[in-house]
Symmetry: C2
Subunit: 667 residues, 2 copies
């Protein structure tokens, strides 16, 4: 006699198998092996409400092995999310809610976009971190409003990726006990057996990180899985890894081999698998009534759980009205009134020269006082990045109220953890490192952009202006590279006043991440009584200064530390009677988002004598200077020397700008 | 009484301290703590010849903690490399051989460029892998010509980085016993104590990877270090990690704190440290005669060791002339005559449509037959990347002659290991993954470009053309991002014939890495009897076809899979009597390296009606189309659907090209 558990598990399996088969592409093997653990978790433990995927106190569930996407679509449909069977049938098709890999924002109940391996693992750490911090901030004696788990299913591939190693080590250090990961150990990867590349003792490794390791258990045994998850939940001081030994493609003729990983089973394979597991051949996408009824109980359970929570929240709100309001405000991703008041007056015209990393630190601290959920840190460069919030304490296992995060030298996990915090909601995360090390954290930045998450990346030491540390530390191509990421806003402010506006833009950007590129070296503060207001930053590019009214003869475009050079060059050109305009262009994305009229007002199409200047790659600036303009910049790597020497040696000087401008006017 | 060991160690310490102090920037603390382990290794074990840093059978030494650069400069100077004391005095200055972080190619004896943490660790694994493979290929009974160790000093920060975790796991799996790493465990990082971020049990973690772990030992005790290195060398089946407990900034008043990490000690600090360790205050850069004499014995020892090896090599050459010639040929980075003969004839005009990933696999296999040291693999996507060399076997602990590498899902370590193999020399490494996952391996690609190393990166699934896997797997910005890396040559071939030329260019590029961007989907083979020869790839961009002689009215520029669309559009335009040119532009870097006359011959300045087409970001193409042209491409992320649907939905079609071209001509 088949138990209801088995029926449900096979329903999950064959919805997945049929979806892949119909799409003629996808990954059937992983869902077939993972179905028991996913089912057990969802049926016995997962606190969620299919009718309200945004319920703040729901458990988070991440399918880190995103290629098993058919699994989560099957689960969501069966559990009663707004994902009709037709969507499952429409797997991987244009316009469906069931894309090839799970995408946050496309499908209700998908907590994050996965597919790039290791990211789900590491983002989950960020979610658990956010939960821990929020619980500490908001819960009060007798009033527990934040109390949920972060679960993930992770694969062999997830555990091979370095980002998961970084995140696991930090999660152990931080004692994130409400993190529960089910490891689908099927010993198979695309190139064959994991024995060729992955013979390490995973259990011993995670124990070394300070995790509770459970198993290996039989990953197809519901009772064993249930007991393991119960043990994991009971351990509140250490994250838990449950090692589930499974068989990829369970039930199919090629089970336990790489053949079932990334291709449909084929008609014969589907038939054989259904026979092997006693499943009806027809119809495809068959869901037995009892399975649907059983799994749909999630709707009732979820409604009851959320209602119970809501009533708790109301009594909390009665006792702690301010906290409750704050919790709801930030939960919606909103900001308190007046959060950015007076930022434009932080740096008066006579403010002494300063590095934008320093002025960024000042702005951050002003904002952090007004926005208590603004929190973050650096990958071991906080004193250089100026990312510390004064007096806000360090987040740690025994100090969970701290807002300063210490990531260690783990840029990649830092990016992922910050992404996970943003996804969790209720907090506004930021990170810090040198701009050149943006290269270490590209995958989570891309994911944040794709998932439209508000994460703020502070990148200091943004050019050869960092000097002696040399080419390994001097970004050259990174600025351009970040500009190329869709939906990532890059802002490279030119002085203190622009830095304040850059932070304003970053905090206000609720539909994507923002990267702030800041100098190590001092820059003069632009006297805004003489030059256009720094608020122009919010439009990405703006006319800073015209030597005389009317159409300019030549336009100089600068960003960040090089705007000063453009201004000096403009003075020299103006002194010779040339009509010159200086455009400050801190953000290409913001500028390109303006309407054509505004862009024309800044960069008139008729004026083709244009010189851009940036202490980075020249490549890309053709976007604004075209085939007829000039770029004062770099074509190769930097060098080690005091920075003044480097600017001179690489020819990034006011004189060079003047010379190019004159040559253009003469041609 | 002070031993000669202590004198030498303090000489290393204070050369480093004085260099940092004079430069007014740098990292004194690490050299002060690491000096004993570095000295012991160099004095007792390291097989090297200061007079010939290129000796192929030398031990490799990597300072993974590159910020401790003053340490290696002190060592190199004292051991007798071509690095005069004046260079040490000139630390971190323009034109010196002593840049802020060690740079391969700038300083004799610096095996690799370090500074970005984790990279030295992971590149060392590549060096040890190359040594193991070369030993297997070339050594013969009675003739051992390849037999050396790879040593590194690694720091807390190195071990926090995920790339070192990936590489360590693989090194354990592969049993690279001649890898010996000294871990400078000083428990301090920039943000303070490692206890805040790094409480894992490192010894247990590395044991879990299958490493021999020795210690913790007293890292300031020469005898203990010597015994530990001897044990490490004796273990030939497992890599070894020697945990050396040290004190950062040993001897300075602030020893054991983050204060001594990244700033000069200051005059008082220097004075106090010299007092504390009994070192004369004056002169700065003091080297006692006995210390110099002792350390310079390395010159004599090295000359003798190399001479002994040379005589062994000569008897080897007498017995195995072909192997000896081959060893020397590839050791010089050269290629056998005829290595690329006939590549242009591999794909006849009537070759059926095929994906460039497939034709790449065919070319690779042709080349691999002719170049026995061409070796590499994929990060678990070999069947998709088509990177397997038929019949060449898998490299493994018990099969060290295999040329197919299996990296597991570890793109970052893959890039670093390939870089280490190239640095080692004697082999030509390649890697494989999907183009979107280039994001995971940016740091080692940048290092390979900076170090001018021949590494070939095979990136398949190079656009929305991969279809159903969706936006996480569809590169959009990656092509542009790779083009932005200085000295990285990016080639996106348009068909089988261009793919053959792309491989020719990649193998021939001995001064930098090359990325090959290849399709998942089939493309027609261009009939070269009708169109210009594919050899134009070697010039980066070339005129594929002109509808009629003379100056064209409009130029269509395409790469990779979109060249087909440009060709179709050109046919349509030509049918309407418009003078149209099609330019194939597989490599911006190669094209930009041509002289102005050639470039003008392809893209005449006078023709401003230009349309570029690429299934990737439009951003950047302004370089060739300017302010007046058009780009048919993308501005955001892709989507999940069959690829034909995606091309249509994103408007990347021949019709769109025609329309833009006509609009330009009409304007």
């Amino acid at each position: 006699m088949t138990s209801i558990d088995d029926v449900c598990i096979n329903a999950i399996r064959f919805l997945s198998v049929d979806a892949v088969q119909k799409a003629k592409s996808g990954h059937p093997g992983a869902p077939m092996g993972m179905a028991p653990m996913a089912y057990t978790l969802w049926d016995r433990f997962l606190k969620h409400n299919p009718a309200d995927p945004q319920w703040p106190d729901r458990d988070r569930f991440i399918l880190s092995a995103g290629h098993a996407s058919a699994l989560i679509y099957s689960l969501l449909h069966l559990a009663g999310y707004d994902l009709p069977l037709d969507e499952v049938r429409n797997f991987r098709q244009w316009g469906s809610k069931t894309p090839g890999h799970p995408e946050h924002g496309e499908t209700p109940g998908v907590e994050m976009t996965t597919g790039p391996l290791g990211q789900g693992f590491a983002h989950g750490v960020g979610m658990a971190l956010a939960e821990r911090w929020l619980a500490e901030r908001y819960n009060r004696p007798g009033h527990t409003i934040v109390d949920h788990f972060t679960y993930a299913i992770v694969s062999d591939g997830d555990l091979e990726e370095g980002v998961s190693a970084e995140a696991a080590s930090l999660a152990g250090t931080l004692g994130l006990g409400k993190l529960v990961y089910l490891y689908d150990k099927n010993d198979i990867q695309i190139e064959g057996s994991t024995s060729v590349v992955f013979t390490e003792n995973v259990a011993a490794r995670f124990a070394a990180y300070g995790w509770q390791v459970i198993g290996p258990i039989n990953g197809h045994d519901v009772q064993a899985i249930e007991a393991a998850i119960a043990s994991a939940r009971a351990e509140r001081c250490r994250p838990s890894l449950i090692i589930c030994q499974t068989i990829i493609g369970y039930g199919s003729p090629a089970q336990g081999t790489a053949k079932v990983h990334g291709e449909p089973l084929g008609e014969e394979g589907v038939r054989a698998a259904k026979d092997a597991l006693g499943w009806p051949q027809e119809p495809a996408f068959y869901v037995p009534d009892d399975a649907l009824a059983h799994m749909r109980k999630a709707v009732e359970r979820g409604a009851a759980a959320q209602a119970e929570w809501r009533s708790r929240f109301e009594s909390y709100a009665a006792a702690h009205a301010d906290l409750a309001r704050e919790f709801e405000l930030y939960g919606r991703g909103q900001l308190p009134e007046g959060w950015d008041a007076g930022l434009e007056e932080l740096f008066p015209p006579d403010a002494p020269p300063n590095a934008t990393r320093n002025t960024s630190g000042k702005v951050l601290n002003v904002l952090a006082k007004r926005i208590p959920v603004l929190m973050g840190g650096s990958a071991d460069l906080a004193p250089s990045n100026k990312t510390l919030i004064d007096g806000a304490g360090d987040f740690g296992a025994s100090t969970p109220s701290g807002r300063n995060l210490h990531f260690g030298v783990r840029e990649h996990a830092m990016g992922s953890i910050a992404g996970g915090m943003a996804l969790h909601g209720g907090v506004i995360p930021y990170t810090g490192t040198f701009l050149t090390f943006a290269d270490y954290m590209r995958p989570p930045m891309r994911l944040a952009a794709l998932m439209k998450q508000r994460v703020i990346y502070v990148f200091t030491h943004d050019s050869i202006g960092l000097g002696e540390d040399g080419p390994t530390h001097q970004p050259v191509e990174q600025t351009m590279n970040l500009r190329a990421v869709p939906n990532l806003t890059v802002i490279r402010p030119a002085d203190a006043t622009e830095t304040a506006e850059a932070w304003r833009a970053a905090i206000a950007n609720t539909t994507g991440p923002t990267a702030l590129l800041l100098t190590r070296q001092n820059l003069p503060t632009i006297d805004r009584t003489q030059y256009a207001p720094a608020a122009g930053v919010l439009k990405g590019g703006y006319v800073l200064w015209d030597s005389r009214p009317g159409q300019p003869e030549v336009i100089l475009i600068g960003t960040g530390s090089e705007l000063e050079l453009a201004m000096k060059a403009a003075d020299a050109l103006a002194a010779e009677g040339i009509g010159v305009r200086v455009v400050s262009m801190p953000s290409w994305e913001l500028f390109d988002a303006q309407d054509a009229e505004y862009r024309e007002s800044v960069l008139p199409a008729a004026v083709r004598a244009r010189v851009a200047v940036e202490a980075g790659l020249r490549l890309g600036w053709e976007r604004y200077v075209g085939l007829d303009g000039e770029v004062v910049g770099m074509d190769g790597f930097g060098a080690s020397a005091p920075y003044q020497k480097l600017y001179e040696a690489f020819g990034i000087t006011a004189e060079a700008i003047v010379e190019r401008a004159k040559a253009l006017l003469a041609s």
